[in-house]
């Protein structure tokens, strides 16, 4: 424990000194007594005792050195000295600390998002073993899985601990006075077991609760428990009345369990009844838990083998099906990966820029301190001591900067959370040990990047280049490094600006796109419903159609329609069709986007009818379809008319539909997707909760209340939810793009301003060093503009070269952006050249101010000064 004692002593120097002094003076006193006893006078005895003992200060120091931890003492002394020195130059210190806080803070904030979203495991036990399972047949994109097939997979596989599944629906909960929208997940057996989660209160579902005729049960989410039951601990056994059925609450989940989405309110056990045997059903999103040690590839091979066997057993329904496995984490956060790393690249460049900037500041400060260092070396200070001391100073700056940076990160993190509310897992961001460690690590990197060079240069400058020259008439050869640093800053800002510029251009292009329909003045919303309504499909259709009629009758409403998926919002459902020509003559394969809309859809969204007639509502036997121009051009080219052809969907168990007419091309699957061949099925409701679209004469938001009142009048037990103007909905679909662009632009602007400050500082420095030279030249008759030109050329040459380097760098890195751009090439010359132009103009201004100052030197005063 002696090191501990020494450490304590190091931080209590006063007490240690007192103790040693007491001990030593006792010794001297005893010695004096002895000498006095030998016959010396008291005075003489004391004198001799002291002489014999030696220099008491040296003795004390030697004794003290044994009692303390030497290096700690050095560090403490260096830190104290650094703090004192830095306090004497508040301007410099503030600039450096704030710059570093900004750089480290932005970096830490983005890292915290990456850490929470991408790096940390999902908040479930052994979450790396959870996978999402979907199916796919050769004619369609991925689809949910039939319950019975999910059960087969679960029984026949040998690599999973369990496979379960779920689907969600929005229903209304009517146990209170007013109906309330409730998002419920219907879950397959083993649901909570596969997650490895148990309810915080109560229990999960029993096997009996999944059987027909078994007891009803519901597990509610923590959120719903707080909202609806005020976190009552006696909630178990209370009834939830949903969509005409009641179920007792058997459990309350833990707050961290919010799956399938954060809005889920309750989980219901799906009963395995007659319908669940239907192998064509596409219901469940499968979730599986791999056995420990099983790789994804093994599981994939295993399920593929299982499915091959099922294909032999049930050739009609299963032969064509392949199983799709994906790590669950990928499903949840995968689409944010590219954006986050892009932003991280941006903030890392920003941090580099701040580092070079601080390095330049430290260098110029080191130059100012050359004589101090020279004197210290001359007086016998070792280079190591001087270097350690300078490094400590930078360390103090870096640590203060990173501490402040954590505060910046907390603010930026809060801003991120409010800006990007739909990004999953953002609420898991917290300032914890990992983040602390990260910002400490960045401080160390900063320390090495900006601290080492000035330190090495200062400590190397030996006695030779001491105070004698005092920077008299030197031409600034020494500032080559400064120029290099400034150049780096400018080059990196050019790269960041190019990236941001391309993203801005891409968003701009996107906003100029003609979607093919008019999203303005359209209100969209949904009305709660549930899949049980499919039991009486005619009634479901009647309900939706009645609602549509009533809505149309509202004053201020021009048209109303329903659609299964919101237009202009990225979704996709590709289906393969077959053209039925003449007598069952099977035609070519046609892959097209499939959409289910009510016939008024085209009128409501102002999509032009180009040919034929509008389709009629789906009747039992005769389905009517519309196709778009792209479909006609690709698959029906050269035919006089599209109407009258029949399209069959081989994967669905429905009769072929008749094409009634041709409509204009619409960017249905997102504004960034060129319209592809599309087939519209005319039906008001494919699902229980289609989107309602209402075209209004005025502001769509103004009609919300009237719509709600009308629907309440019609069906008081249904909840209206998810209300938003269509334009907002389409805009929200590109929220991630917008956020990413805004942030990158912000970082790039910050980078450019820091680089400008750096350039300004460096030119100012050059100007001040060559003040005498300028003054002399002016005195000898040089024109002011020559002086200005001289400094400007120096500054601009560096800016120009840096610009070129930055552009080369952006062209090299452009590929990283290519997946994020719409309508702009990653090498877009217009963007790159305007970025270069902007940077050149701004840097010219930054160099002009100090250069102009050089020209207005009073020659006589400047020459007399030294």
């Amino acid at each position: 424990m002696s090191w501990l004692r020494r450490l304590i002593n190091t931080f209590r120097p006063g007490r240690l000194h007192r103790d040693i002094d007491r001990e030593l003076s006792f010794h001297i006193a005893e010695r004096a007594d002895q000498l006095e006893a030998q016959g010396l006078s008291a005075e003489e005895a004391a004198r001799r005792a002291r002489i014999q003992f030696g220099n008491p200060i040296v003795q004390r120091e030697r004794t003290r050195d044994v009692d303390i931890a030497g290096w700690v003492d050095d560090v403490v002394r260096n830190v104290r000295y650094a703090a004192r020195t830095l306090a004497r130059v508040p301007g410099f210190t503030t600039t450096v600390v704030l710059t570093l806080a900004l750089g480290i803070g932005a970096n830490t904030a983005v890292f915290s998002a990456i850490d929470a979203i991408l790096l940390r495991p999902l908040p479930f036990p052994d979450s790396d073993r959870l996978v999402r399972i979907l199916q796919k047949n050769s004619r369609s994109t991925e689809t949910p899985v039939a319950p019975v097939r999910l059960e087969d997979w679960n029984q026949l596989n040998s690599t999973f601990e369990g496979i379960t599944g779920f689907y969600t629906e929005d229903v209304s909960e009517t146990s209170a006075d007013l109906p309330e929208q409730l998002r419920r997940a219907y879950v397959a057996p083993r649901f909570f077991e596969v997650w490895g989660m148990t309810p915080a209160l109560g229990r999960g579902f029993t096997q009996a609760e999944h059987q027909p005729g078994g007891p009803a049960a519901v597990v509610i989410s923590n959120r719903y428990w707080r909202r609806r039951f005020a976190a009552d601990r006696d909630v178990l056994g209370k009834l939830v009345r949903v969509a005409g059925t009641t179920a007792p609450i058997v459990g309350v989940m833990q707050p961290s369990f919010r799956f399938p989405d954060p809005d889920v309110d309750a989980w219901f056990p799906r009963v395995n009844d007659q319908i669940t045997r239907f192998r064509q059903a596409t219901w469940y999103t499968g979730i599986g838990r791999l056995e420990a040690g099983v790789t994804l590839a093994q599981a994939r091979a295993d399920l593929a083998a299982v499915q091959t066997r099922l294909g032999e057993q049930y050739p009609d329904s299963d032969r064509d099906i392949t199983v799709l496995l994906e790590p669950l984490k990928e499903t949840i956060v995968g689409r944010y990966r590219a954006s986050l790393w892009l932003l991280f690249g941006g903030v890392t460049a920003l941090l580099l820029i701040t580092c070079t900037n601080v390095a330049a500041l430290l260098l110029s400060r080191a130059t100012q301190r050359r004589s101090e260092v020279a004197i210290r070396l001359a007086l016998g200070g070792s280079r190591t001591t001087v270097a350690a001391q300078l490094l400590t100073e930078t360390g103090v700056l870096a640590l203060t900067g990173s501490a402040l940076g954590l505060a910046v990160a907390a603010i930026v993190g809060a801003a991120l959370r409010s800006l990007a509310s739909d990004v999953p897992r953002l609420d898991e961001i917290s300032i914890d040990g990992r983040l602390l460690l990260y910002s400490l690590a960045s401080a160390c990197v900063v320390l090495l990047l900006c601290g080492l060079m000035p330190v090495i240069r200062t400590a190397r400058n030996g006695l030779a280049s001491t105070a004698q020259d005092a920077g008299r008439t030197q031409v600034s050869t020494r500032s080559a490094i400064q120029w290099l640093l400034v150049g780096t800053q400018v080059a990196l800002s050019v790269t960041m600006l190019s990236g941001a510029g391309l993203l801005v251009r891409s968003l701009h292009e996107l906003s100029r796109v003609d979607p093919g329909f008019e999203p303005a003045r359209v209100l969209s919303f949904r009305v709660s419903g549930n899949y049980a309504e499919f039991g009486d499909y005619t009634r479901l259709l009647k309900r939706v159609d009645t609602a549509l009629e009533q809505l149309r009758a509202l004053p201020g409403v021009e048209a109303s329609a329903t659609t299964f998926s919101a237009p202009g919002v990225p979704t996709g459902f590709q289906v393969e069709f077959e053209l039925v020509e003449g007598r069952g003559n099977q035609g070519a394969r046609m892959v097209a986007e499939s959409r289910v809309v009510s016939p008024e859809y085209f009128e409501t969204l102002r999509i032009p009818l180009l040919e034929g007639t509008l389709c009629r509502r789906q009747a039992r036997d005769a389905t009517e379809l519309m196709v778009n121009r792209a479909f006609a051009d690709r698959y029906l080219a050269g035919r006089p008319s599209v109407s009258g052809f029949h399209l069959a969907n081989p994967s669905a168990n429905v009769p072929p539909g008749r094409i009634a007419g041709l409509v204009g091309d619409v960017r249905e699957s997102g504004l960034n997707q060129a319209p592809g061949p599309t087939v519209y099925f005319c039906s008001s409701a494919q699902g229980p909760t289609p989107y309602f679209l209402v075209r209004t004469q005025g502001d769509p938001a103004a009609i919300v209340q009237a719509v709600r009142m009308k629907l309440k009048e019609l069906e008081p037990l249904r909840a209206v939810y998810d209300i938003a103007p269509l334009e907002t909905r389409i805009g929200d679909a590109f929220e991630q793009d917008r956020l990413r662009t805004t942030l990158l632009a912000l970082f790039a602007a910050t980078a450019l301003s820091i680089a400008c400050v750096g350039l300004y500082g460096t030119v100012s420095y050059a100007v001040s060093r060559r003040r005498r030279e300028s003054a002399l030249r002016l005195a000898l008759g040089a024109l002011r503009r020559d002086i200005v030109r001289q400094f400007m050329i120096q500054g601009l040459r560096v800016a120009g070269i840096a610009c070129a380097c930055g552009l080369v760098l952006s062209i090299t890195l452009a590929r990283a952006l290519s997946g994020m751009l719409y309508g702009v090439s990653p090498l877009d010359p217009a963007t790159l050249s305007s970025v270069a132009g902007i940077v050149l103009v701004v840097t010219t201004l930054a160099a002009l101010i100090p250069a102009a100052r050089a020209a207005f030197v009073q020659p006589m005063r400047a020459l007399r000064e030294d």
């Binding site: 004692r5 001990e23 010794h27 005893e30 030696g54 040296v58 030697r62 004794t63 044994v66 009692d67």
Partner: protein, 111 residues
């Protein structure tokens, strides 16, 4: 002071301090110097400047422990005493001293 008095060879100071403390229960620094001087019949003399750093180092190493107390003359002094580890160290140092003197003796006796 006089040149006849041997200054203590570096390294033997530890041995002398340990041995002195082993013979009596506790001693302050001054008492150790007088003890060594007296017992060695004035042949050895502890250099006062080296004593205290040595005492403190030995305490850091856990061979000694110290406490403040009063002397007979009612002065405050720091008293040192031997710890168990100090006793072990003493045995080691005595042994190595014996080897050392024996070695030196053999060299000197060799003709």
């Amino acid at each position: 002071m006089s040149a006849s008095k041997n200054d203590i060879l570096q390294g033997t100071l530890t041995l002398l301090v340990l041995k002195s403390l082993a013979t009596s229960k506790r001693m302050h620094g001054y008492a150790i110097t007088t003890h060594v001087q007296r017992v060695s019949a004035d042949l050895l003399r502890v250099e006062e400047g080296s004593l205290y750093p040595a005492l403190h180092r030995m305490e850091q190493q856990g061979w000694l422990k110290s406490e403040w107390g009063l002397t007979e003359k009612n002065r405050e002094a720091r008293f040192y005493s031997l710890t168990a580890r100090g006793r072990k160290q003493l045995a080691l140092e005595e042994e190595s001293w014996a080897r050392f003197t024996e070695g030196v003796g053999r060299v000197l006796r060799y003709v």
